[in-house]
């Protein structure tokens, strides 16, 4: 496939963590593991309409137990041992504000739903989520997209370890508010999708309400090219989006081609595994010997007309089958195309094919599983092939780090949604609307222009301020102190200190420092000095405030010191400043110093 399919339709679901505490309890957003854990099982239940959701059912088949590691920012709500509190109003107002900025129509009654997710990522077995509004338009430079819904939901647990019988999650992330913006499939190309996604992300950046952290923005991408909708979960970096979309288009194209050809040769027939550990009397494959030792059996089924489609150039039906099996915990499927490999030679391969009753066009599948499990495997393989042969590729897939995607589960239906009974309906009142109105961000251009006009920043600095999420902090600080200095501290001084000392001053500490400097009219040297002191750990905020050490060194003291300074030393002003500052543990005003040195030279 040379170019991106013209009939492609791309939609987005952008998830953004809001930095305002958890959504349904009073826990802080960050915490460490405490050592306590609980082990659980989740089971499907019939939803509102009595229908058990297929994606939930597929998870339940795995029957794993789930371990949750308690963290210091989790409580009984996170452990699913206490009903949730009412919704965090701050988070709701952020979601509303974001909606406002795209012209979304915010509902006047917000009801919380449960979305069944029993892979364990939510202790309750569901994710709490609310529609905040419908509609609105995201306009990029070249593309635009209509918003389907803006939702506010709780973030899920972070997966720590994924074992066959137990999967481990941390409770740290669970319950953090997540705004989800879903769009119609209005985009045609990866570039358009990236543009729209970026546009969405910029808005929350402008508000300064995005939580810090690696995965604070995650995108899901809906993609179709005529074979049903595929939902690709977890594209965490925008830059990967193109690669992923191109590869997915390629996968679907190759898949439809393979299916068509295979159909022409007569289809895949029946899948029927039979055990024969001795089909090769003395296996040379260590993998097989090991499996037999562990009590597994060698199960073989013919795959009619399958030769060349499972792993051959663009055709990778083998991986489609393997991915489906993996979901029910079966690993180790071997087929004709990939042999010789795994210690199985050509002779053995042909012996297996013969046992399976296969001819020159046929392939076979060989499974190494515990007795009984071959039945599950037949079922899953048959269903998977039938689905693909129907040329309906719709499903949920996971984005991998290498740019490929992997089958995750069938598409979730609407049956998995039902009302959260523990939380009464939230009335969007005047207060909320007013707060949201105040928070509503403009476009990136608006924000940059405002910073340029109001504080005299360069366009470059203004954009960086916004995109690093400093908009709020900056506006606040620059209202009482020189904007350029603040910009310099945020964009240069602090990153430098971070680099040098491995840590830097927190925004709260900075606010305190600026407030003192503003009140006392101390210059930027006091600010920079404080950043150095705190970042290096030489002083903490309390000590600085108690000792009133932010005040630049007094003229007399400096004068006396300068008397003893050689003229050579006096010539390197910045070194001299540093020296004096260290000597007295106080900031030194560079311009004052320069003036005094000049004065001395004059005398």
């Amino acid at each position: 496939m040379d170019k991106f399919p013209e009939n492609a339709m791309i939609g987005l679901e952008v998830h953004m963590q809001v930095n305002v505490g958890k959504l349904f309890c009073h826990c802080p957003p960050e915490g460490q593991e405490t050592g306590f854990h609980v082990d659980r099982h989740l089971r499907t239940t019939s939803g509102e309409g009595g229908i058990v959701d297929i994606s939930a059912k597929s998870e339940e088949m795995k029957n794993r137990s789930i371990r949750y590691l308690e963290t210091s920012n989790s409580c009984l709500v996170d452990l699913d041992e206490k009903p949730p509190e009412t919704m965090n109003r701050d988070a709701l107002s952020v979601a509303m504000a974001l909606g406002n900025s795209f012209g979304t129509m915010v509902l006047d009654r917000i009801s919380v739903m449960r979305k069944i997710v029993i892979d364990g990522s939510n202790t309750s077995g569901f994710q709490r989520t609310s529609v905040v509004g419908f509609g609105g338009t995201i306009k990029g430079k070249s593309a635009s997209s209509v918003i389907t819904t803006i939702c506010l939901e709780e973030d899920s647990c972070r997966k720590i370890e994924d074992g066959d019988s137990i999967v481990t999650y941390s409770l740290e992330r669970l319950g953090i508010p997540l705004i989800e913006i879903s769009t119609n499939p209005d985009m045609k190309t990866p570039e358009e999708a990236m543009e729209i996604a970026r546009e969405i992300g910029n808005r929350i950046m402008i508000m300064g309400m995005l939580r810090k952290g690696a995965d604070s923005i995650r995108q899901d991408v809906n993609f179709s090219m005529g074979f049903g909708r595929v939902e690709i979960k977890g594209v965490s970096k925008l830059t990967e989006m193109k690669n992923i979309l191109v590869r997915e288009a390629e996968r679907q194209d190759a898949l439809q081609e393979a299916v068509k050809k295979w159909k022409e040769t007569g289809g895949f027939g029946d899948i029927d595994f039979k055990r024969n550990d001795q089909v090769v009397e003395k296996w040379s494959s260590k993998m097989i010997l090991k499996a037999l030792e562990e009590g597994k059996g060698v199960y073989i089924s013919i795959l009619k007309n399958g030769r060349g489609f499972l792993k051959n150039g663009r055709y990778t039906m083998g991986r489609e089958i393997a991915d489906a099996l993996k979901l029910i915990g079966i690993r180790g499927i071997i087929h004709f195309d990939e042999l010789p490999a795994y210690g199985i030679n050509e002779d053995e391969r042909d012996r297996i094919l013969k046992y399976a009753g296969g001819g020159s066009k046929d392939s076979f599948l060989l499974l190494l599983v515990d007795p009984g499990r071959e039945q599950d495997a037949s079922l899953v393989i048959r269903e998977r092939l039938e689905k693909l042969f129907s040329l309906n590729f719709s499903e949920t897939r996971a984005a991998m780090e290498d740019g490929t995607t992997r089958y995750m589960r069938p598409l979730s239906g609407s049956g998995r949604m039902y009302p959260e009974t523990d939380i009464p309906i939230i009335k969007v009142d005047r207060d909320l609307m007013e707060t949201a109105r105040e928070l509503t961000p403009g476009t990136l251009q608006d924000a940059i222009k405002m910073l340029q006009d109001k504080f005299g920043l360069s366009g470059q600095d203004a954009e960086t301020i916004v995109l690093r999420g400093y908009m709020n902090t900056f506006s606040k600080l620059a209202s009482s102190y020189d904007g350029k200095t603040i910009s310099r501290i945020l964009l240069q001084k602090m990153p430098e200190a971070e680099k040098k000392f491995g840590k830097t001053i927190s925004l709260e500490e900075l606010e305190n420092i600026v407030s003192i400097c503003s009140k006392n009219k101390y210059g930027r040297y006091s600010l920079e000095w404080a950043v150095d002191m705190i970042s290096s750990g030489k002083m903490n905020l309390q000590k600085i405030m108690e000792g009133n050490t932010l005040m630049p060194l007094e003229t007399e003291t400096m004068g006396k010191y300068l008397e003893k300074v050689s003229s050579e030393e006096a010539s390197n002003l910045s070194l001299l400043q540093k020296k004096i500052s260290e000597e007295f543990a106080r900031p030194v005003d560079m311009s004052m110093l320069a003036g005094m040195v000049k004065e001395r030279q004059r005398k």
């Binding site: 609980v38 082990d39 659980r40 099982h41 989740l42 089971r43 499907t44 239940t45 019939s46 509102e48 309409g49 009595g50 229908i51 058990v52 939930a56 137990s65 009984l76 452990l79 699913d80 041992e81 206490k82 009903p83 129509m105 509902l107 006047d108 009654r109 009801s111 739903m113 449960r114 979305k115 069944i116 029993i118 202790t123 309750s124 077995g125 569901f126 989520t129 609310s130 529609v131 419908f134 509609g135 389907t148 819904t149 939702c151 879903s182 239906g413 609407s414 049956g415 998995r416 949604m417 039902y418 009302p419 009974t421 009464p424 309906i425």
Partner: protein
């Protein structure tokens, strides 16, 4: 659009919102709003004026739960449902949870259970247990006796709120049990994937397959879906309003545990006898008085006027202000019964230690080691109706069903 009074759940609707039109499915009316399910599964609340019903036959999308008939080959176990969270689902009238679920949906989650036992489903009641009344206890006790002739073990699913009261009532009303009687329930409704009901019910049914001859409660041991504790009904208390490990055997270890399909009975327990005896008489004029500073003489007097017996939840070892002494003396002299328990819940009542206690005892207050206040109330209802007046103190102090714990060890608190 005018409200269509015949609107049915499941009707297709169009609705407008901020000038745009959307499709959805009508769910219910809540206050001034309609609940509409939109295509992605969300419910939204829309004012009736903006909703238009589309004439289209309503599809019944509810999947009928297949009723299991008695299957399996093992012991026959009767499963008597009385309501409670374990069979609760959302109630669209109030938006809250209400008992309505078919318990087979839970038992069918455990194919091994349905093979190991033959389950007899008896739908007896369907209420939240805070509405349980003494006459319901009698009904359940009669159902137990009836079922005990047909099966080898009895599980009663019950709301957790007053489960321990019912357990105590059954314990006293049923003597020499010929089958195990196990109450169970859940703290999270069964329509939640994380519900504790699945494991609790599995545990209860397995316990009902043992040779136990007591009324017990089977609930989660910890916050993990790991072990189910078997606790003596008369010594169990719901000690947390929400956690799945809320039920605690007070002052003694659970009689046993269920884990991974296996039951294990550790403590001494009474074995099932040949014939269950039923005695359902109850004195209902028994009240509970929670003593506290600032309580007035009238508070006690007004209760004394209405009740033939009072359980006082006193402080510490079983104390209350001495200003009540005259009232108590008069009440007991006139035939009223007063039993002292402790609001500490753990530890004994002992009126021999402090001056207050000795005064109360001499005024006619009865006290019994560490009987739980709720159990004491139920026992009093039973004893006052079934034994001669003069034996009251003696029977209250006699350990009928394990309600009195003579040995309290360090691990029990």
């Amino acid at each position: 659009m005018p409200v269509n009074s015949g609107t049915k759940r499941g009707s297709k609707v169009k609705f407008t919102f901020s000038g745009k039109e959307y499709n959805g499915t009508f769910l219910s009316k809540n206050g001034d709003y309609y609940s509409i399910k939109i295509e992605n599964g969300y419910d939204v609340k829309i004012i009736p004026e903006n909703v238009e019903f589309i004439e289209e036959p309503v599809q019944n999308s509810t999947v009928e739960i297949k009723k299991k008939s008695v299957a399996g080959t093992g012991k026959e176990i009767s499963l008597i449902t009385t309501g409670g969270t374990i069979v609760s689902k959302i109630d669209y009238t109030t938006g809250a949870v209400f008992p309505s679920l078919d318990i087979t949906e839970i038992t069918s989650k455990f194919p091994s259970l349905e093979e190991k036992f033959r389950l007899r489903h008896v739908n007896f009641l369907n209420i939240l247990s805070e509405n349980m009344e003494p006459e319901n206890w009698i009904g359940i006790a009669e159902a137990v006796v009836k079922e005990s002739k047909k099966s080898q073990g009895i599980v009663i699913s019950h709301g957790t709120d007053t489960m321990t009261y019912t357990a105590a009532a059954l314990a006293f009303m049923l003597s020499d049990l010929s089958v195990p009687v196990i109450l169970t329930g859940s703290q999270k409704s069964s329509d939640r994937p994380s519900s504790d009901s699945f494991l609790n019910l599995a545990g209860a049914i397995n316990f009902a397959g043992t040779d136990l001859g007591e009324v017990c409660i089977a609930m989660h041991e910890s916050m993990s879906d790991d072990r189910v504790s078997l606790m003596r009904g008369v010594r169990t208390r719901k000690m947390h309003s929400t956690r799945r490990d809320a039920f605690r055997s007070m002052g003694e270890k659970p009689l046993g545990f269920f884990k991974a399909g296996v039951t294990e009975l550790n403590q001494e327990y009474k074995k099932a006898g040949p014939n269950t005896e039923l005695g359902t008489k109850l004195e209902t004029r028994v009240g509970m008085l929670y003593f506290h500073p600032g309580m007035q003489l009238e508070d006690m007097e007004s209760m004394m006027e209405r009740k033939r017996g009072i359980v006082i939840m006193g402080t510490g070892l079983g104390h209350m202000a001495l200003k009540f002494l005259d009232n108590i003396r008069k009440y007991t002299r006139d035939g009223g019964k007063i039993l002292m328990t402790s609001q500490c819940i753990n530890g004994p009542v002992n009126l021999d230690v402090y001056a207050t206690g000795r005064e109360l005892a001499s005024a006619g207050v009865t006290w019994v080691e560490n009987m739980l206040p709720e159990t004491a109330m139920v026992k009093m209802m039973h004893v006052m109706a079934n034994y001669p007046d003069e034996d009251f103190e003696k029977i209250m102090r006699t350990n009928l069903r394990g309600e009195i714990l003579y040995r309290e060890t360090a691990g029990g608190f």
